[in-house]
């Protein structure tokens, strides 16, 4: 961990001892309900996920605890990765639709 003293953590994983890889609490730094709620929605849409929730530990600290529990022994980083990718794809689609609509309106004026 040499040289990492000055770097601020972005994402941490907290796992209970003895639990399998499927139950993990992620600590996302510098985040709040903006990403927390939308990411929770996307991860819950995953059929492999048994439990997903997030909480803000204290309003003075800008970090969220994001917990994922999967069924079937799937490592918890997978639904998280899929949720992030799906959310990114949703944003891309919204952006494309908006730009198409805007060009349509702009050209018709």
């Amino acid at each position: 961990m040499a040289g990492e003293g000055e770097k601020k953590p972005v994402l941490e994983m907290v796992q209970a001892d003895g639990a399998d890889e499927g139950c993990v609490t992620f600590v996302l730094h510098d985040e709040d309900h903006t990403l927390g709620n939308s990411l929770r929605y996307m991860v819950m849409k995953n059929a492999d996920v048994e439990f997903c929730g997030y909480s803000i530990t204290h309003p003075s600290e800008s970090k969220i605890n994001f917990r994922i529990q999967t069924r079937g022994g799937i490592p918890a980083t997978e639904p998280l990765r899929k949720g992030l990718n799906d959310l990114s794809d949703v944003c891309q689609h919204v952006l494309n639709t908006f730009q198409v609509r805007f060009c349509f309106r702009f050209n018709s004026n």
Partner: protein
Amino acid sequence: QQNVSININDLRTILYLYVRYDDTWDMQRFQKNFTMDIVDLDENCMEFDMVGIDAAIANAFRRILLAEVPTMAVEKVFIYNNTSIIQDEVLAHRLGLIPIKADPRLFEYRNAGEESGEDAGSEIDTIQLQLKVKCSRNPRASKDSSDPQELYLNHMVYSGDMKWMPIGNQADVFADANIGPVHDDILIAQLRPGQELDIIMHCVKGIGKDHAKFSPVATASYRLLPEITLLEPIEGEKAERLKRCFSRGVIHLEELNGKKVAMVVNSRLDTCSREVLRHDDLKNLVKLGRVRDHFIFTVESTGVLPPEVLVTEAIKVLMTKCQRFLNELDNTDME
């Protein structure tokens, strides 16, 4: 599918349970059901609809528009001379809140923890502005006038008096864009003869989460589309009263077989005052609710960036957040 029903005292969510309903994420289904429509667009204000998306994501866009789309604003105020009656800190606070017309995408964030001297800023992260006003007596005023407009010169300090001082290559890079306050007529301070202001300001890039002066929107909000269902035909005098219970243009009275029948024409115009629920004979004939996935956004910009640019930037901010954590996951996986 869920519906929100509006009652006299509360809002109830009615859940329809579908057996074997597959709620898994399906990108094709989302793309098929998702539409957007730009209803109203002018220089500073935009109203658009988003249909087929969930509240979590629509709210994320709203929160980002308010707090995480960056802008430029005055951060450091170097007061060389302030003999006005406005205190230094009050003056500095007012200057910070003035919207600055500079495209924040062309600037970088300033590194935190630099020394607070004037040389800390460079041309890629700082805009320098100067405010130098001295109030004097008007020699040409008439003897017995009492109008300050006539008696004094430069007694009102407006944001239009803030002049841009280009640093480094900014004069070439931003030759066309005249950098300065968005509005010229914001009153900053009032002076009397002998008082003067001599101030240099540094503008930096920031986000609304840090300080509200960096927020690019006057406000950004959304509401759900109201849904008004008439449970049985309403005609005659009742229809007239029903029409008065809603905002203008929502209910239209059609002539059918010589009688006036009420029809819901445009529920979007309704402000949901629930007036109809106060009438005992009308309240059971109408079902009020909201369409859960139809969001009517209103974005009003302060003038820094046009509202459509703000919306695209907000969507990109959310994508950047996802990307940041994806990269972090990949990095930890490789270790």
